[in-house]
């Protein structure tokens, strides 16, 4: 086994053992983290928070034109 492969295996074991030996509170907060990330990145991001300029226009020049018109025509 090469030296670098051994290094990465040691890192993998370090994290694996850490997660295996989580305390009660550690497990609870990890559950909360996972639920929170799911809510933020899947539910909120996909359903409620699209990037509207990216969604409505296909290129940066179009987006720029749109904002320029907004700055010129609206008050």
């Amino acid at each position: 086994m090469s030296r670098s492969a051994g290094f990465f295996i040691r890192i993998f074991r370090f994290y694996r053992d850490g997660f295996r030996n989580l305390s009660d509170w550690g497990r609870n907060v990890w559950i909360i983290i996972l639920i929170k990330l799911f809510v933020i990145f899947f539910l909120l991001r996909l359903l409620f928070f699209p990037d509207l300029l990216k969604k409505n226009f296909s290129s940066d020049p179009e987006r720029g034109d749109y904002i320029r018109d907004h700055l010129i025509n609206n008050r």
Binding site: G26, D51, R68, N74
Partner: protein, 522 residues
């Protein structure tokens, strides 16, 4: 997307952003300060080899971990809101906002996935010194992450280091260093992190006081109070100094905000500092708006002139100077700034007309105009005034600014006093006898949270009507969504964040009641 922007939409969008930011800031400052307190405790453990210090470190590290885990990624939602609710603003700020936020994201990811893992998983697996280094790196890294966020925020308070490109309709960064060393950023960073240090110190002293009240873990509690008390006292003095620096910077770069939180309408030499006061609604009229007047105030004569100009005779401009102008003092009126803003807006319109007509040379000339220092300094700098109709609209809510500022400052001085008293009682060996004082410290835990939130309300509401100071008013940055949709997400966030906060408080309270581990091996 932007047509017919209505005020209820603007207000709901602002409310939604404010709610997210306020909740996010409930989690952040404890991370900033507690990480350093833990690092100091662990340093003592490594130097002395006393297992009690390891036990103390691990206890506070556990509370740090809970707070960190619940709070992490709550700030991401603010970035989502930029793209959805504030798309014109997001586009207009261009890469200036993107660069610091990207640096923060990358730094936070590497920091959190490596050194925090060592902090929690690495006891007895890595050397003591490597573990200690990781703890310090977490503390330094967490505070550096805050730097990048605050650099981005400071740019909104004092836009600098950029050139507006009419072709892309974006501000483009021309000097990273100007953005990074923006004077507002430096002050904001120092003031914000020291507020986090004070908050964490009060948190540690408050919880340690609870242990003393319960007659449990006396050694751990006293040692914790010693470390947090010293750190808190130094930090609270620094907080006052950085607050003073910050106020001077605001007086220079956001003078209307400054005059609002001082409720100073008429400029004067020998200007008094209002230490405390009560405002009522019906004061003098500016346009269609009544500015609040004082029912009562306690003043320190000449002190505001001393603080801002260095001597009693220094002239401190008031709100009227910025509305009506004061040529003697070189202060431009609102109407003059508006005229200049209109010139910049017209130049943008002319650029578009030239592009539409295919007049390439004319378009290039106009585009180059936006890059010239003279045009930037004399016209584009006031671009946002073109979108404001009435002079009185550049005045933020004076009552909100005044009360948030004064309450925050009073709390700041209270913290200095609290740390001094708790250290004195500890030093004289009388702390446990003064049980009432232990209760005071326990019930003081919410106060620095309140002070921090007041600071942010002042920073953000005090710069109204601007989303980017002098360049873009709030209503021009908002996306024209249905106000009802924004209301839905507002309440979704309220539920999500309240659930997260409840989870944090309940897990923390449970772990505090449980206390530190019984015994710790060296």
């Amino acid at each position: 997307m932007f047509e017919n922007i209505d005020l209820s939409l603007v207000n709901w969008s602002r409310g939604q952003f404010a709610l997210t930011a306020v909740y996010h800031w409930l989690f952040v400052p404890l991370t900033l300060g507690l990480s350093f307190i833990i690092a100091m405790m662990e340093t003592i453990y490594v130097r002395t080899g006393d297992p009690e210090w390891k036990r103390i470190t691990k206890f506070w590290m556990k509370l740090f971990g809970i707070n960190f885990a619940i709070g992490v990624a709550t700030g991401i939602i603010l970035e989502f809101e930029f793209g959805t609710n504030w798309s014109a603003y997001s586009w207009f700020v261009g890469d200036i906002f993107g660069a610091p936020l990207a640096i923060e994201g990358i730094m936070a990811f590497f920091l959190e996935s490596t050194f925090i893992a060592v902090m929690f998983f690495g006891w007895n697996k890595v050397s003591k010194k490597f573990h200690l280094a990781s703890t310090w790196l977490v503390a330094i890294g967490a505070n550096l992450s805050a730097l990048w966020i605050l650099v981005a925020n400071a740019w909104m308070q004092n836009p600098t280091g950029m050139v507006f490109n009419p072709e892309t309709a974006r501000n483009e960064m021309h000097s990273f260093w100007e953005v990074l060393f923006n004077p507002v950023a430096a002050d904001k960073f120092l003031h914000t992190i020291t507020s986090g240090f004070v908050l964490a110190s009060i948190f540690v002293v408050g919880i340690s006081s609870w242990f003393l009240l319960k007659r449990r873990e006396a050694l751990m509690a006293k040692r914790s109070i010693l470390i947090a008390g010293i750190f808190g006292l130094l930090s609270s003095v620094m907080l006052a100094l950085t607050g003073d620096m910050s106020a001077r910077t605001i007086a220079k770069y956001q003078p209307v905000k400054f005059t609002s939180f001082e409720a100073l309408y008429k400029g004067t030499a020998n200007a008094p500092l209002v230490a405390a006061g009560i405002l009522r609604k019906d004061g003098e009229k500016v346009g269609e708006r009544h500015l609040p007047s004082f029912v009562f105030r306690i003043e320190i004569p000449g002190f505001l002139s001393m603080l801002t100009g260095g001597d009693r005779d220094a002239y401190v401009p008031g709100i009227y100077d910025y509305i009506y102008g004061n040529p003697e003092r070189g202060i431009m009126s609102f109407s003059e700034k508006k005229e200049r803003g209109e010139v910049a807006r017209k130049a943008l319109q002319d650029y578009k007309t030239a592009v539409d007509k295919g007049e390439k040379v004319r378009a290039r000339e106009l585009a180059e105009q936006f890059t010239s220092a003279g045009f930037r300094e004399n016209y584009f700098r006031y671009f946002g005034y073109a979108y404001i109709d009435k002079a009185e609209d550049i005045i933020p809510d004076v009552k909100v600014s005044f009360y948030t500022f004064h309450l925050m400052v009073m709390l700041g001085f209270l913290f200095i006093l609290q740390f001094a008293v708790v250290l004195w009682l500890l030093y004289s060996g009388n702390l446990e006898r003064h049980r009432w004082w232990l209760w005071v410290m326990l019930f003081s835990i919410p106060l620095p949270y309140l002070a921090g939130e007041l600071g942010w309300v002042l920073a953000e509401m005090g710069r109204q009507p601007w989303i980017i100071q002098d360049l873009m008013p709030v209503h021009m940055g908002v996306t024209n969504l249905k106000a009802g949709n924004v209301q839905v997400t507002f309440w979704l966030f309220a539920i999500l964040f309240t659930a997260l906060l409840s989870a944090e408080v309940s897990i923390m309270v449970k772990q505090i009641r449980k206390g530190p581990a019984k015994k710790e091996e060296e």
